[in-house]
């Protein structure tokens, strides 16, 4: 592979710059500031793009570093040859890689080529930019090199086969990242973090570890409280029983008290009865005696009344004299008055019927006249009706007979009608005519007969006359009665008034009754001496009787005193009865009580060893309060237990988390160890691979080295990683201990050795940016020889600023 030419539109300080390249060594010797390094970078950037795109530093960020000083877009073209093909690569750079333009054309056809993409550097050289820089591109003051994965892979010719040796660094880095990510020693490592977490969990668990014991203790406390509650409940139960017993005892006591009270009451009632009876018998008469006295008093009173009744009083004497004047001439004044009264009643009856009779008479007279007129008219109508009917019937009968006669005469003359055929019909017609004529005659006769009868009935009736006679008799009788009574009244000094007659007669009758009574009393008053003596003796007895009971009263008050005594006796007797009733009731109560309650209970002795009900109640209430407190405490314990259980659950959860975490840690640790093993084994494999090409690489290195330094002054070694060491004082040392010139020389030779190993067939161009600057004059000469030697196999683009190194 070789470069043909390049054209730079804009790139750093270079503007519209073109250059052709030949095969072999192309030395570009220009003074400082020409832009040699920029040109070298341009060639590299055309193949690989910019380095340090993400860097802020303008020197490190090549996109910024190589922006044209005058600004604007920049880029250029580069023609090169690979095998027999020639290409023209064109890139235009913008502010960022996405906006960059890339174009590859076939130089001969000028057609766009797809043989390579934007990653043309890697595709063309088979190495990344880093490896490119370490091999075929030698920047200013960048001589020192070492083998990269790409170099190793390229050297080992493994790139085309599996392309995995060049992954070593990436894999190693990835493994390192994984190992670091898991690291138990780094703070950012997962295992470290998990351990920290586990430690924190462990601390939390340790803090909670006593929780089981706390729960057990709390349970024991709870049990204690439950025992206390149970004990107290038993005690309460015992107290309840005792309360029941005490209550029963109290009931029995109460019953006994009631019984005793009943007994005492009975005794009292009995005494009351006795007292009452004693009082009754001592201060008051016997009831029978009192009753006898009472009867006696009543008899004496009756006797007295009787005596009083037989004596006429003064007013009675006056009255009897008055009445005697009225009725002494009459043998039976009551009968006379009764007769008068009867006659007066009869007279009044007649007087009342008389008016009615008079009215009836007048009515009868008017009826008689009216009836007479009506009968006359009706008789006249009937007369004329019968007369007309009779005449009509008479003429009709005559007509029929005449017609018969005419018919008979006609048939007889014509002789057309046989006797046999007409005899019956002709006879019927004749008879009919005769009957009708007779009926007419009868009707006419009856009319005249009825007319004559009507004329006879209009005469004065007998009964009307009788009625007029009766009226006259009644009026006479009334007048006689009035006269009789008027005379009687005048005798008695009374005035006759028709309206007062009846009441005056009644008054006289009552006078007669009074008169008779007074007369009877007048007769009885003559017989009274023995009864009066009897009356006095009875009064004495009663007075003596009353005196016995300190009741010295006048006879007038005997009756009242006896009544008083009776009342007193009755009252005392009532008191005795009431006392007896009370006693009986009390006795019944006692007997009922004895029936209800056994005698054993009522007569039992009261034990005093039992606690009082009040004391028991007090203890029960006190225990109830304690029990309530215990329940409250038990509830508190229950709540605490719930809390502890929750904490215990948390502990379990934490323990589970810790167990999971420890499991994770051991898994991660296993993975960590495996990753480390993997990294170690991968390194071993890589070293094993690289060892295979170390010998030819070292030979190539020494070959180039000896071109510069014909007489090798130092012993060099190369390890499996293609790192060079130098033997000094019997020890291998890194080349960094050597001078800058030697370091550049070693780096230069190693690069060329890498290039030889990496590109056995198609050789790439070598871009060398003043690589001999640090060499002394002798080695510069050797360096120039080296370049000449290299240019036999490689196109060398050599930049220098000094003629001595040209």
């Amino acid at each position: 592979m070789r470069l043909l030419n390049c054209h730079i539109e804009n790139f750093g300080k270079l503007h519209d710059f073109s250059m052709d390249f030949s095969a072999g060594c192309n030395t570009i010797c220009q003074e400082n500031g020409f832009g040699k390094s920029t040109l070298a970078s341009f060639i590299r950037v055309m193949f690989y793009g910019f380095l340090g795109e993400s860097k802020r530093n303008n020197l490190e960020n090549e996109r910024k570093r190589y922006q044209p000083w005058q600004g604007g877009i920049y880029g250029g073209s580069l023609s090169f040859e690979v095998g027999e093909r020639q290409y023209c690569l064109r890139r235009v750079f913008h502010d960022k890689v996405q906006n960059d333009e890339f174009e590859l054309r076939n130089q001969k056809t000028n057609l766009i080529s797809t043989d390579y993409t934007e990653r043309i550097g890697e595709e063309l050289f088979g190495v990344n930019q880093e490896s490119f820089i370490r091999t075929v591109y030698i920047g200013q003051n960048d001589m020192v090199t070492s083998a990269t994965d790409d170099i190793n892979a390229k050297i080992g010719n493994l790139t085309d086969d599996t392309n995995d040796l060049n992954r070593f660094e990436e894999a190693d880095k990835k493994l390192t990242d994984y190992i670091n990510a898991l690291s138990p020693k780094r703070k950012t490592g997962a295992i470290y973090k998990f351990k920290e977490e586990a430690s924190a969990l462990h601390t939390q668990i340790r803090a909670l570890q006593g929780i089981e014991d706390s729960i057990t203790q709390q349970m024991e406390l709870m049990e204690q409280k439950r025992d206390e509650i149970a004990h107290l409940k038993e005690e309460q139960s015992a107290i309840s029983k005792k309360q029941e017993e005490a209550s029963k005892k109290k009931d029995i006591q109460a019953k006994k008290e009631i019984y005793e009270h009943l007994c005492q009451e009975l005794l009292m009632k009995e005494k009351e009865v006795t007292d009452c009876e004693k009082k009754l018998h001592d201060s008051l008469p016997d009831k029978n005696v009192l009753d006898e006295m009472s009867i006696k008093q009543k008899q004496s009173e009756e006797l007295y009344a009787k005596i009083q009744l037989t004596q006429l009083q003064e007013n009675e004497i006056l009255r009897i004299n008055e009445l005697k004047n009225l009725f002494q001439n009459e043998s039976d004044p009551k009968a006379i008055i009764s007769e008068m009264s009867a006659r007066w009643n009869e007279r009044n009856t007649k007087k009342s019927t008389l008016l009615m009779k008079k009215s009836t008479l007048a009515t009868l007279i008017s009826y008689k006249e009216a009836d007479k007129r009506r009968q006359t008219e009706a008789a006249r109508k009937r007369f004329w009706q019968r007369l007309i009917v009779g005449v009509i019937l008479l003429f009709a009968g005559i007509g029929i007979v005449g017609f018969y006669m005419a018919m008979k005469a006609s048939f007889s003359s014509s002789g057309t009608l046989s006797t046999t055929d007409t005899s019956f019909g002709n006879a019927g017609l004749l008879i009919t005519g005769v009957i009708i004529a007779v009926a007419g005659i009868i009707s006419t006769l009856l009319a005249f007969l009825q007319k004559s009868r009507n004329n006879q009935s209009v005469s004065m009736p007998e009964e009307l006359e009788n009625l007029e006679k009766e009226i006259r008799d009644d009026e006479e009788q009334i007048q006689n009665t009035d006269m009789t009574i008027k005379t009687y009244f005048t005798d008695k000094g009374l005035t006759f008034l028709e309206s007062d007659v009846q009441s005056e007669l009644q008054k006289l009758l009552s006078y007669v009754v009074e008169y008779e009574q007074l007369l009877e009393k007048e007769q009885k008053s003559s017989v009274h001496g023995a009864e009066l003596e009897n009356y006095d003796r009875m009064q004495e007895e009663i007075g003596a009787f009353l005196h016995q009971f300190e009741m010295d009263v006048t006879p007038a008050d005997y009756a009242k005193s006896i009544v008083d005594l009776k009342e007193k006796v009755s009252a005392k007797k009532g008191a005795v009865d009431a006392a007896k009733k009370n006693y009986t009731e009390c006795l019944q109560k006692k007997e009922q009580f004895e029936k209800e309650y056994p005698a054993a209970m009522l007569m039992s002795e009261t034990k005093d060893d039992l606690e009082s009900l009040e004391e028991l109640n007090r203890r029960f209430n006190q225990n109830a309060e304690t029990l309530e407190n215990l329940y409250q405490t038990a509830r508190d314990y229950e709540q605490r237990l719930e809390g502890l259980r929750e904490q215990n659950d948390s502990l379990n959860e934490l323990e589970k988390q810790l167990a999971n975490l420890n499991q994770t840690i051991s898994e991660q640790k296993l993975l960590y160890d495996r990753l480390k093993y993997t990294q170690d084994f991968l390194k071993q494999a890589k070293e094993s691979m690289t060892q295979k090409y170390v010998a030819p690489l070292k030979n190539s290195f020494l070959q180039y080295y000896e071109v510069v330094v014909p007489k090798r002054d130092k012993e060099y070694y190369m390890d499996a990683n293609a790192d060079i060491t130098v033997l000094e004082c019997g020890m291998q040392h890194e080349t960094t201990f050597l001078s800058a010139g030697y370091q550049d020389l070693i780096g230069l030779c190693l690069r060329f050795a890498f290039a030889d190993a990496m590109y056995p067939n198609e050789k790439p161009m070598l871009i060398l940016d003043d690589p001999l600057a640090n060499l002394d004059a002798e080695k510069i000469a050797g360096g120039k020889n080296l370049l000449q030697e290299l240019s036999k196999n490689y196109q060398v683009i050599y930049f220098t600023c000094h003629d001595t190194r040209r």
Partner: protein, 367 residues
């Protein structure tokens, strides 16, 4: 007459061994809900007797909510009689926390206790096994052969009778005792076997699986007692809200995560697992060392399809030496270098080779 036999409910279990805190809380609540649902099932199916053969609770520290829920459920169902035999996880804490033991809660002790089911010939006997009664438990059990005998115990079955310690049930010692049905608790998987010529023994298993050591269906057993024929029919009723399954997927021959995901999906579809189930997918088989495998990706593919999924990689790497014998690349040199290393286990070598190849192939390594 119908009875329900359950055991190992382990209410209040933390459930954190598999699940994260939030899901563990959710599952803890689900345990309680399943217990409530079981009682509702009993109510709806005319079951008046529930036998709880131990480990009703998981821990002595019973939470107030669990205790209150259980006591409330018992009180709310006076028509159901609960026979509660305590297991090795149960303590007195539940009973001592009750103010009054409900009438419909029947308890057992360290000596045999029997309850005659009202108006029937069924006798339910039980004993809480412990060190002090382990030896005497068998000869002190006296049953009336004319009755229908149901016996409740909690412990590990042992057919041989060789061990002599608490919580071991020597089945041989219970032969010919007149047991019709031996209701057991302690083993968390359903098991039914013949006890002797007359009876059977059953472990109901736990009501809900808690971890991947309790995979498969879980529930309870419903006993149908025919007193006329003197027979007991037992039926296992799967009742767990969620089941746990460990699914082994052989990914041998797969060369990428996509292929492996496809193989996993195929196996899961064949398994007919429910969306609400919990799965542990275990990758098995030998993979080529150069194959691409991303377990995080594989887990993410199935994570949303089920209530819980975790993925275990138990695959081995296969390194074919001949493939790299003449490989002149760095990769070939690396493989040869690792394989020639002494004192490194083959599996470890394979892992290192895989890592190296991932790195060289520019693949990401999951840290």
């Amino acid at each position: 007459m119908k009875l329900l036999h359950c055991a190992d409910l382990h209410l209040d279990a933390k459930m954190t061994s598999t699940l994260d805190k939030e899901r563990a809380k959710e599952r803890k609540a689900e345990l309680l809900h399943t217990f409530q649902d079981m009682i509702s099932y009993a109510t709806n199916h005319d079951i008046c007797h529930i036998l709880i053969c131990g480990d009703l609770f998981d821990t002595k520290n019973i939470s107030a909510s669990a205790r209150n829920m259980v006591s409330s459920e018992i009180e709310k169902h006076p028509n159901i009689t609960f026979y509660y035999l305590r297991g090795n996880h149960d303590t007195d804490n539940f009973l001592s926390g009750l103010d009054v033991v409900p009438d419909n809660l029947k308890l057992f002790s360290h000596s045999w206790t029997s309850y005659v089911v009202e108006n029937s010939d069924i006798v339910i006997s039980g004993m809480e096994l412990a060190e002090d009664n382990a030896k005497s438990a068998y000869h002190t059990l006296v049953l009336d052969s004319d009755k229908m005998n149901i016996v409740m115990l909690h412990g590990q079955e042992s057919e041989t009778g060789a061990k002599d310690k608490a919580e071991v049930i020597h089945l041989r010692e219970l032969h010919n005792k007149g047991i019709d049905y031996l209701a057991l608790g302690h083993i968390h998987a359903y098991k039914r076997e013949k006890l002797d010529g007359r009876g059977v023994y059953c472990y109901s298993g736990c009501l809900e699986g808690r971890g991947f050591d309790e995979c498969g269906e879980h529930g309870f057993i419903v006993l149908d007692v025919d007193e006329e024929k003197k027979t007991i029919t037992d039926i296992f009723v799967p009742f767990a809200k969620r089941n746990l399954y460990t699914v082994y997927v052989d990914v041998t021959g797969c060369n990428s995560s996509v292929e492996m995901a496809e193989k996993i999906r195929q196996d899961l579809t064949n398994g007919q697992y429910r969306h609400e189930d919990l799965l542990k997918i275990v990758l098995t088989g030998a993979l080529d060392v150069a194959c691409e495998k991303n377990t995080n990706y594989l887990l993410s593919v199935f994570l949303g399809d089920y209530y819980f999924v975790k993925l275990y990689d138990e695959t081995t790497l296969r390194v074919d030496v001949e493939d790299f014998q003449y490989d002149e690349s760095l990769k070939g040199e690396f493989v040869r270098t690792v394989l020639s290393a002494d004192e490194m286990p083959q599996e470890e070598k394979a892992a290192v080779i895989r890592l190296g190849l991932q790195i060289l192939n520019n693949e990401e390594v999951s840290l």
